[in-house]
Symmetry: C2
Subunit: 118 residues, 2 copies
Amino acid sequence: MFKELLQEVVDGTEGAVAGLVMGFDGIAVETYTANDEVPTETIGMEYSVVLGQVRQAAEMLELGETREVSVRAESMTTVMRLLNEEYFVAVALLPHGNPGKARFALRMRSAELVTALS
Amino acid sequence: MFKELLQEVVDGTEGAVAGLVMGFDGIAVETYTANDEVPTETIGMEYSVVLGQVRQAAEMLELGETREVSVRAESMTTVMRLLNEEYFVAVALLPHGNPGKARFALRMRSAELVTALS
């Protein structure tokens, strides 16, 4: 079901080009790429390291669990939602894309993902 | 002018409690705190480390310059905008706050900040 869910989120979001469900260890459970030029898994792996550091920082600051992290770079925006202690889901969008919609879609589908992952 | 600008952005954004302009080395140029319980500078220092790592990841992935990073944790959302090679500006909001408005305000004021910092 992961592939279908990722495809629905990516294809339903303006400017979205890829999505993945990945462990914080950088190993992907599933990826979906609408544009073959996007190195989805490499992006996920790099950002999985960053997410681990964000979680640590938020924990140290006693801000509670980290829920979402968005990174807007010049040529790609990445919206990541942390699912549980082990996994996150992410969507990558081109600069003209709608990260708010991606964020909303990930929030709406996260319970489903959490259930499937546990 | 940094204090005034931070105050305008924070006081003009629903749920925002603090703002700062900081170097990636974790040294603050200016901070403004609407709620004294928020450890503004400590949050900035922790996240400055994270921002450095995000920039490195985006650079390695050839995604271009990192422009904005948002982190939503359970008890606080932090919106950060990178200004140049050395500095970033950040606003911290309570969970009911409006990060979209904070992001917009930082975008609108960033040219002004960049000029003042150079």
